[in-house]
Amino acid sequence: MNQKARTRTQELRKQQQEAARRQTQRRRLVTALSAVVIVGLLAAIVWAVVDAAGGDDTPGATGDVTPPGNLSSQGSIPVGSDDAAVTVDLYYDYMCPACGAFEAANGEELTGLVEDGTVRVELHPMNFLDPTSNGTDYSTRAANAIATVADAAPGAVWDFHSALYANQPEEGTEGLSDEEIAGIAEDVGVPADVVDRFADRTFEAWVDSMNAAANQDGVTGTPTVLVDGEKFEGDLYSTGPLTEAIEAAAGGR
């Protein structure tokens, strides 16, 4: 009787120990698995950060920048007469909605001022908004297209520039396809053989270098507008203020 009870107690204790052991084992396994998953995720994050930080240095830095022809002496795309009284520098990105708003307000005014010889516009296309076109690099593609036109059909640059903004895609979308960009160029009279060269992407490295140069010029956002080298601080999004500033600068001559 006594013996039996003792055996039972022993068995019970054994079971108990066994259960506790399994419990501990399971807990260890879970802890180890959790640690592996967490460390793995941390490693992935570090890798992604390093990759992102390193990835962008290469395109601008590696030589092989082919600039388009017909650039002005300061290295941007000129629109208008060399003898114009006032120079207006535009730093912009074809994806930037604010630049679209700027064009909508001031595009026609600038067209008039260029045509009557008051203004020479210097275009500084940028591509820092490439990450906002779902991987299609719309900013770079559009800027490469304008550079190609500047290279081979400089007379159509301003019209093409305006048409790209008139058809501006929404930020955060894939942007216009290469075919759509080509169609817009053809519509404003860019010769077909020039349009065909968009696909060569010849000037992408140059666009990268323009973006880097703008950063060095102290451009912190787009649109940035310089009137005779001075940053225009007025209202960029309504018609009039910029024109007045330009006329004031022209009158001062």
Partner: protein, 216 residues
Amino acid sequence: MTAGLDDRVDDHPTEGRLHRLRHHDATVWATMLVASLASLVASFVLSVDALRLAEDPSADLGCNINAVISCGTVAGSWQSQLLGFPNAFLGLVSEPVVITLAVASLGGVRFPRWFMAVAQGFYTIGLVFAYWLFQQAMFDIGALCPWCLLVTLATTLVFFELTYVNIRDDNLFLPRGVQRRLEALVRSNLDLVLVVVWILLMVLAVVLKYGDALFA
């Protein structure tokens, strides 16, 4: 005898100070307090931005090169005004409630079961809303704003701690089996692991999608 056995198994002599700290009331409520304060600050900033943008649509519309919030895109999208007013207003209204809850609980107040259950319900709706916005910002609007991210993170933490407390104190009127399983989950700290993994996944997603813009 059976009860004794259970106690024995549930007692974790190996889990030391960290385990106790994590399950300490003060830690739980303090975390909730900090997270809800952060969320309130972010909501406030976002509300002010929204008002400024409403006053003058061209204000700050320029695309800042160094910020991934590009061009006021998030603030200008329809998703940011789902109910006809800026979403951030919801944070201004609801976060003070959470702050009060956390402070009162830190001070030793115990709220009735039904109160905590209702709080859980409302906060769950808030969490779903926060993640819907996060998902929209990531994949539809294509721009991230740091303040919105802070709201998402803080909402996650508050939800986590609130749920933890409600499971621990059996406030959710759940079937016994479910309740027991959830309690075991919490006791083994798996819930903490889940949240950490979840937050790291979010960080990874953000870095993968916006890394180029963030660290270029």
